[in-house]
């Protein structure tokens, strides 16, 4: 059998969608984590970090139950669209957002945290609103962190397996991602195709990470010094 390009393309689409959503969703969360002084903030940080330590089976199991027609959320979705979220691309997107959340939020928050508070104070003194300060001061200085977070959530979604296995249903062109395809090829003793696909994924992931780290390195050298 040959490489399943459909699965490859599907996985890239999934990763782009998830990392784009996480960029928008992750910014306010990371901003709050970096600047909030609430004493129970650490609890929120722990929740955000949960997907790093939880096995994907736990996440997949709860997502499957939460998306199913037996849960209020699942029922609401069914009444809205006429079908359940499990075994759909949207279902995978939701599962992947949860799964990759810390990989976006943590680098974002770390880079916001590293911004010189004097710059923020200066911006406020000059009359800029917090939003303006964010877009004109904090975000530009944090670009390497934003790139890292987005790239990591992209790469993490590319390599996702457990959650997809549990909520995907292995439908070609809809939920059969590269990692599932590789698993199937191995189970079917088709080592040659498994190897080709795995090598491709390996090369792609390496290239992607190398570019990100390369870009960030350049930013450090010629970017504004904090």
């Amino acid at each position: 059998m040959a490489i399943d390009w459909q699965a490859f393309w599907l996985t890239i689409q999934l990763a782009i969608t998830v990392s784009a959503i996480l960029l928008f969703l992750g910014l306010p969360v990371a901003y709050w984590i970096a600047f909030s002084r609430w004493r129970w903030k650490f609890l929120v940080e722990a929740v955000v970090a949960l997907p790093i330590v939880l096995p994907p089976t736990v996440l997949g199991f709860y997502v499957l139950i939460a998306l199913g027609p037996r849960s209020p959320l699942g029922r609401w979705w069914v009444s809205l669209t006429g079908h359940t979220l499990a075994f759909t691309f949207s279902g995978l997107v939701i599962g992947s957002i949860l799964y990759s959340l810390p990989f976006a939020v943590q680098p974002f928050a770390a880079s916001f945290d590293g911004v010189d508070r004097k710059l923020i104070a200066a911006s406020a003194t000059l009359g800029a609103s917090p939003l303006r300060t964010f877009f004109r001061v904090i975000a530009p200085v944090s670009v390497p962190g934003l790139i890292t977070g987005t790239a990591l959530s992209f790469a993490h979604t590319m390599g996702e397996f457990g959650v997809v296995l549990m909520v995907g249903g292995n439908i070609p062109g809809v939920t059969r991602t590269v990692s599932i395809d590789i698993f199937d090829r191995v189970q079917a003793s088709d080592y040659a195709t498994a190897n080709e696909t795995a090598l491709l994924l390996l090369a792609f992931s390496f290239a992607m990470l190398a570019v990100v780290y390369g870009v960030n390195r350049k930013a450090w050298v010629i970017g504004p010094v904090k």
Partner: protein, 269 residues
């Protein structure tokens, strides 16, 4: 004070972790020295029946039997890559034969212990009258997803595809199929309500965990090639004698009755 409580509780936690890990270790050591424990790779449809057979066997002989359930194709794959199993209970006869050819199993020990049955299962609260209308309910517009085991490596998945083709429904329903990694996952997809119907093992439909949760229709046996299931002693086994003894026990009337009770036909039937 709060800090003190925190450090005491974390110390207790750490102690518990160390204790439990050494206990697990000790058990492992004992298993190596004392009575041998068998590890059996078994098709997912056997999960209820074999566990009970294993418990009965342990009571009788003191030999503990541990199970690893999965799709037969997936287990075959693991065995070929050196998984430390003593016995293999497949959901078909082909995978054991494949292992014999590859030198991973003892050909003389191959024995057909049961014949699996395929059913179409829907949740109890479903409006689909599967008991009377059989596979025709799948054409109902409320059926968006139909769960089957992955036909690439699960014999029950192949049986489900064969049954759909036999009924002339496959082409119309192919885009509604969702694939479980094995027959248990297919059952779980329907049980959780995410798929509206599914082809599962009869053994699942009547298993204690599923009883009362659904309605089912037995797919006529001439709709799919018989699910003759074979068991075999593996070449990697370090307890070949004990493995062969357990295999003999599964052939006894006592064990066979349990297989029948949990939804299998016997080869002699």
């Amino acid at each position: 004070m709060r800090k003190a409580i925190g450090s005491v509780s974390s110390a207790v936690l750490a102690a518990c972790m160390v204790l439990s890990s050494t206990r697990g270790w000790a058990q492992e050591k004992q298993a190596k020295k004392g009575a041998p424990e068998l590890v059996v790779a078994a098709a997912a449809d056997l999960s209820t029946a074999l566990k009970e057979i294993g418990e009965g066997y342990e009571k009788k002989t003191g030999v503990k039997v541990n199970f690893s359930f999965g799709a037969s194709g997936a287990l075959t794959q693991q065995i070929q890559n050196g998984a430390p199993f003593d016995l293999f209970f497949s959901a078909d006869m082909d995978y054991p034969r494949q292992l014999i050819t590859a030198g991973d199993a003892d050909g003389a020990s191959l024995y057909q212990y049961a014949v699996g049955k395929l059913v179409l299962w829907v949740p109890a609260d479903s409006s689909l009258d599967v008991e009377h209308r059989g596979m025709n309910v799948l054409l109902d517009s409320s059926v968006k997803k139909i769960a089957i085991a992955n036909p690439e490596h699960a014999p029950y998945g192949r049986a489900a595809v064969a049954a759909l083709k036999h009924a002339g429904l496959y082409d119309r329903l192919a885009d509604r199929l969702v694939l479980g990694e094995n027959i248990s996952q297919a059952a779980q997809f329907v049980e959780s309500g995410n798929a509206q119907a599914g082809f599962v093992a009869f053994a699942h439909a009547i298993a204690p965990a599923m009883r009362g949760k659904g309605k089912y229709w037995e797919v006529p046996v001439d709709f799919y090639p018989p699910l003759a299931q074979g068991m075999i002693v593996l070449s990697h086994s370090r307890h070949k004698k004990e493995a062969a003894e357990f295999l003999e026990y599964v052939k006894t009337k006592e064990a066979a009755e349990l297989l029948r009770k949990y939804g299998f036909a016997l080869p002699r039937d």
